[in-house]
Amino acid sequence: MTALHQPAATPDLLYSETEEDLRSAVRSLLADRADAPTVLARAESDTPYDPRLWQALAAGIGAAGLLVPEKLGGQGASHREAAVVLEEIGRSVAPTPYLTSAVVATATLLALGTEDGPAAELLTGLASGRRVAALAVPFATPPAGATGATVAAADGVLDGTVTAVADAATADVLLVPTPQGLYAVEAAADTVTVDPLVPLDLTRPLATVILSGATGTPLATGEAAADAVRRGLLAGAGLLASEQLGLAEWCLTETVRYTRERHQFNRPVGSFQSLKHRMAQLWLEVVSARAAARNAADALATGSPDVPLAVAVAQAYCSKVAVRAAEECVQLHGGIGMTWEHPAHLYLKRAKADSIAYGTAGSHRAAVAELAELPAP
């Protein structure tokens, strides 16, 4: 590890007062509108998102525009604040297109760096929450991996199919990478088909997007387009760690609460040492995940050269913690953890899907190998 790879500045890993205020607002909104029975009922309905919840979160609290500069109608805040919103979304597994629209699509458009034109206009719409966008790449795409090779563009006319696109079903606009450049496509056009898939994670819909001669508005070409997509995905992967943190924290808290109350063998089951040790170990992992997730959010917010490594470290670590927390939650709830009524399964499904989203832990470790100069044999 050369000096080049030491972080340039010490990251701020704490939460500011503003961030805590934002957290309280989001948490109380989600407690009102996205409690577990509501989330489950919504997931089983034909409309995966509650438009009133989205409006309250996006416009009421102003969460959708956190990353967008004020002159484009946003809040001019940063990834640090967006990360706090995602912690709360993870804690409630609320079905909202926040990660895909307000983070990934928004960060992609912001990376284009234009102050007017179609990208700026789109950003203004996204910042207000009136419009929702999705980046049309498979949800499993790691930051370095989007090729756009399955869609061909000729004179602004797009043909091709993209599989497993997260939140395509609710998007008004699709941002479509192609080898010829990045295009914006209206999702409601006759030439666009969005075929819903049956997702493992009931709270985040996936769809196949089929473009049949769809008209695309060109946003960027060449390296600028590829770089914007990469930066959108980096922001997504980096902030997904905060969603995973919130999810893991809920699972731990709920498991501790349950095992304190549940009696077997004339004792609370939480008094058995083997269970206590498992929960204590999980607590340590959650505490560590918080440091990793905050580090990624802070690096993204400050535009640090450490972003790729901070994001890779956070994803390589937090994915595993979220999955383990959800698995422990199911196991330590015993039979109740296996039921449809108890929300544990919603968390397990979100955690497992999140562990593939924007690159698996393994693909992020491969990124670490390159960035930290620890090459494969």
Binding site: M1, H5, Q6, P7, T10, P11, D12, L13, L14, V256, T259, R260, R267, P268, G270, S271, F272, Q273, L275, K276, H277, M279, A280, Q281, W283, L284, V287, S288, A289, R290, A291, A292, R294, N295, V313, A316, Y317, R365, A366, V368, A369, A372, E373, L374, P375, A376, P377
Partner: protein
């Protein structure tokens, strides 16, 4: 707390100290004494005892100013037990005379301290200890055996817990003393360890006379005093900032880069996983440090020792394997008695063996997990049957 002491004020006082005692021309010990007397040693301590009654979060400000000026430090590694355990206990429970006598030479490093707690029959179950202290006039006469005592061979003083009433339940019949390691009847024997070194000692106490004026806290309240000591032992982490690859992951990463012929796919995956975990542990420590500086210490401290113990063991284990034929060798089995604990020095084999102690010393990982479960998560305690039985009636 003195409201008027803020960062600007401690900077001003630090500047005054440096002006009056230029580090370049001042003897190391003299400088440290002057620093103590200026209240800049541990700023949260009372005035006159090395501090200014100021917020603890101002200490890093002072340390940074002094480091920038090239001032000597008090070699905290050498006097870690005194700083981390003896000092807060003396401050919390000592008489004015005891505080005046002990704190300054302790902080300056003129007097090294060790800790006479663990016994062959009382490790994790520390309150089961059997070393006896019997009152005889103005003295206590102590007989027993202690073990795992780091620094006993260089220590001038020891904090000691001993049983003063075997008829009471085990937590209630203990008293806490300051033991003079140069007194007749104190015998320190090296205890050779798994690494071949004798970093720890056995200490035999035979008819050692300790004046009652060196008791800390009331008779029979020693357990309460000891809990303060132990809590401080576990909080002492978090002061220093570690660079990326600063711990055990550093040497193994360097070997990986420099010796491509050793690389295998299996080792690569394990190395990357551990590299990520080491980086996350570093960040967790950094977050804890930032919480302390902000005046909101989190409970993470109790977990950091667990994390580092496991990581050190896994990383050093991987390193021995990575070295292949080299991993079959060991630097040197010569018995020696080091003054400092050194986890990362020497070679991979030493690191592997020494790190086995990381999950035992200062509270085993099993006990620490219980503490996290009960005190941080609020899980119920396990039923126990030793709390109300006289110590002498417990099975041993």
């Amino acid at each position: 707390m003195t409201a008027s002491i803020d960062a600007a004020e401690v900077r001003r006082r630090t500047g005054e100290l440096l002006a009056a005692h230029p580090p370049a021309t001042t003897d190391r010990t003299d400088f440290l004494k002057a620093r103590f007397d200026a209240g800049l040693a541990w700023v949260h301590y009372p005035a006159g005892l090395g501090g200014l009654d100021a917020p603890r979060s101002l200490q890093p400000v002072i340390d940074a100013e002094l480091a920038a000026a090239g001032a000597p430090d008090n070699d905290p590694r050498r006097i870690g037990i005194g700083l981390g355990m003896a000092a807060p206990t003396v401050l919390g429970f000592g008489t004015d005379e005891q505080k005046q006598r002990f704190l300054r030479p302790l902080w300056v490093g003129e007097e090294v301290w060790c800790q006479l707690f663990s016994e062959p029959g009382a490790g994790s179950d520390l309150a089961a200890l059997g070393t006896r202290a019997v009152r005889d006039g103005e003295d206590w006469v102590v007989d027993g055996q202690k073990v795992w005592t780091s620094s006993a061979h260089v220590a001038r003083w020891a904090i000691l817990i001993a049983r003063t009433d075997p008829d009471l339940p085990k937590h209630r019949g203990i008293s806490y003393f300051i033991c003079d390691m140069t007194d007749p009847g104190v015998e320190v024997r090296p205890l050779r360890q798994i690494t071949g070194e004798a970093e720890f000692n056995e200490v035999f106490l035979t008819g050692v006379r300790i004046p009652d004026s060196r008791r800390l806290g009331p008779v029979g309240e020693g357990w309460k005093v000891a809990r303060t000591t132990l809590m401080n032992e576990r909080v002492s982490i978090g002061g220093a900032r570690i660079p990326r690859e600063g711990g055990m992951i550093g040497p193994v990463s360097r070997t990986w880069r420099e010796r491509p012929e050793l690389r295998t796919h299996d080792l690569h995956q394990r190395l990357l996983t551990l590299w990520v975990e080491a980086e996350v542990a570093r960040l967790t420590g950094e977050r804890l440090r930032q919480q302390l500086v902000a005046g909101h210490p989190g409970p993470e401290g109790s977990g950091m020792k667990l994390a580092f113990a496991r990581l050190n063991q896994e990383i050093s284990g991987l390193e021995v394997e990575l070295l292949g034929d080299g991993g079959l060798l060991y630097g040197d089995w010569t018995m020696r008695r080091p003054e400092l604990v050194d986890f990362t020095g020497r070679d991979a084999g030493y690191r592997y063996l020494r790190s086995k102690g990381n999950s035992i010393e200062g509270g085993t990982s099993e006990v620490l997990l219980n503490i996290v479960a009960e005190r941080v998560l609020g899980l119920p305690v396990e039923p126990r049957n030793d709390k109300d039985v006289a110590w002498k009636d417990l099975s041993r």
